[in-house]
């Protein structure tokens, strides 16, 4: 789960990282008031889950509270990468003497958190990696010991010459690691980490992504979720324990298992169709989940046909069949449904479906071909 900059700033602050003051606002009037309170120039930054905010006009400097208000008026009307800007962060302008990069990711290859620093800060780190990889310093952290002081100092010496700044940066690295571990992050980034003309080392940007499996069991982190950035159907699905991602096509897909769900979408595309969604009903046998799945898919007016692709293992196909029957009983589904099911209790499932005049195919390839054809006819 991605969190906003103002939320990441707060988690960084909790870990002790020096972050300039700043407040979040939703209206230009609030922005003006915050700017007045902070005094001096401020930066107004769009809070959306998208990169390239600066280029999109989502970051503006203002020298007075009035200018800040005007900047907020513009930014709060923006849509950046399809996401309407609903919140802005207002923070004091700090004078910048140097900019560096400090980041941490969960690295799949070394199976450890990896810390990365670079004296080339303030710009896209992937660009630095591509053009001047020698300017990036990396270290895989052994989670049993954490980031050791000498390791942090070693990295900090790659950034600064002044020993005070080296010590300050090393401390920030250790604090960032704490924030990373305690919040189950998969990514934490300070870009840029700056020095001021007075010699202070500060984090003036904050980015964090969290492990969904940690968020699930931590109400304090769950509270950081911004549902306005999600399609309403996705929120509904998550609450029902379904994994659902809305797409732009017209073939609705209900599948058990993530890999099979992806393969089903791919096959829809292979036969010339476009999937309307990714939906994994999971491994458990629960007819109620099937009802919710159908309800969510039929919310999408683009959907012209629906495919069930169920390979019963732990999932009992008769439970799925019961779910389909229950759904059809509760609300009308106006588009054709193609059902493919095989595996555990398939004979019972077929009998249940026959009872309501439905048939099912056994073969995935056949079923996908058929649903694509039906969707095209209806379109």
């Amino acid at each position: 789960m991605n969190i906003h900059e103002y939320q990441a700033r707060e988690l960084f602050r909790q870990a002790g990282i020096p972050v300039p003051d700043g407040e979040v606002a939703t209206t230009p009037a609030e922005v003006e008031e915050i700017a007045r309170r902070l005094g001096g120039g401020v930066v107004v930054k769009a809070q959306v889950h998208a990169g390239g905010r600066g280029k999109a006009g989502g970051v503006k400097l203002a020298q007075s509270p009035e200018e800040a208000r005007a900047a907020a008026e513009q930014i709060l009307q923006l849509t950046i990468k399809d996401l309407p800007v609903q919140k802005v962060l207002v923070a004091p302008i700090v004078d910048i003497a140097s900019e560096s990069y400090l980041g941490m990711i969960m690295d799949r290859e070394s199976q450890r958190p990896v810390i990365m620093v670079s004296p080339a800060g303030g710009i896209d780190i992937e660009e630095v990696a591509a053009t001047t990889p020698e300017k990036i310093f990396k270290l895989a952290i052994d989670p049993r010991y954490g980031l050791l002081s000498h390791q942090a100092m070693g990295l900090a010496f790659a950034l600064y010459d002044d020993i005070k700044q080296v010590r300050a940066a090393a401390r920030i690295m250790e604090q960032l690691y704490q924030a990373f571990v305690t919040n189950g992050a998969t990514l934490a980034e300070i870009n840029p980490l700056i020095t001021t003309s007075a010699g202070e080392v500060l984090a003036i940007d904050a980015k964090m992504s969290l492990d969904d499996n940690v968020v699930e069991r931590r109400p304090d982190l769950e509270a950081l979720r911004d549902e306005s950035a999600e399609a309403p159907s996705e929120v509904l699905a998550r609450e029902a324990g379904l994994t659902f991602i809305k797409l732009d096509g017209n073939v609705g897909c209900v599948v058990n298992g993530a890999g099979l769900a992806m393969a089903t979408m791919d096959l829809v595309k292979y036969y010339g169709g476009e999937p309307a969604n990714f939906l994994d009903i999971g491994g458990s046998s629960n007819p109620e989940k099937v009802v919710t799945a159908l309800r969510i898919i039929t919310m999408d007016p683009n959907v012209k046909a629906i495919l069930f692709n169920i390979f019963g293992g732990i999932t009992r196909t008769d439970d799925v069949a019961n779910g389909i029957v229950a759904a059809l009983d509760q609300f009308s589904v106006d588009v054709p449904i193609v059902i493919r099911l095989t595996g555990t209790n398939e004979d019972e499932a077929l009998a249940i479906l026959e009872g309501v005049g439905k048939t099912a195919l056994k073969d995935m390839d056949e079923a996908v071909k058929q649903v694509v054809r039906v969707a095209q006819e209806a379109a």
């Binding site: 189950g184 993530a258 491994g283 390839d365």
Partner: protein, 289 residues
Amino acid sequence: MSIFVDRETKLVVQGITGRDGSFHTRQMMDYGTRVVAGVTPGKGGQRFDDAVPIFDTVADAVAETGADASVIYVPPAFAIGAMFEAADAGVKLIVCITEGLAVIDMTKVLPFLQERGVRLIGPNCPGIISPGQSKVGIIPGNICAPGNIGLVSRSGTLTYEVVDQLTRHGLGQSSCVGIGGDPLIGTNFIDCLEAFENDPDTEGIVMLGEIGGTDEQQAAEYVRNHLTKPVVGFIAGQTAPPGRRMGHAGAIISGSSGTAAEKMAAFEDAGIAVMKRPVEVVDLLKARM
């Protein structure tokens, strides 16, 4: 022959009295797996289905029964501890079915297991089956048949789909391994490829990958340099949008990396026959064996 489990494997089930644990223990026993012990703290001394002795700790189970492999069906909050416990008790193979584990916790478990020479399959996986010999996990036994195809996959039901195709067309399997859909896993593609290459009864290999990470690309490189047996591959997620987690925590395209196109190209470069549809697995294998 087979890889990682066979008819000699003596299994202890962690969480044997739970809802999932009890259901799948019965399925494993019906299949012929040697389930020698179960563990549920507080129920030591009882028997599961009047047959399998239950112990309070894995250490007790290993000491009394000589169990050398463990399967974990406990809820996510206990699964990390269950892996530490099994490794400490001396089993050599741990299969963790449990889904929803924190990646940060896995970073601590993995080196603990590696130092003790313990193989982990999973977490968030369907387990492993060596058809006709033993199944450890939740792969339905009835769709498998003994034979000489080795299969390794990051998925569950997609594995069943492909195994079913193989079996219905007379291609039995030496072993089928579901390595799991998480970003950090114990056994990876390369471990399985190496084992299948060294298994005299495996003659052809199927590798089912998906978007996210670079495991498939590294596996392709390994195939190019070390494998003599034919490999057929598939990548799920060609239509997946970037930046979204497609069910599996590991199935996410980050920036422009981890895409299906990139992985399929790596497969083709390494001489792996790429299936465009799951149904093509049979013809591609038969043409190469």
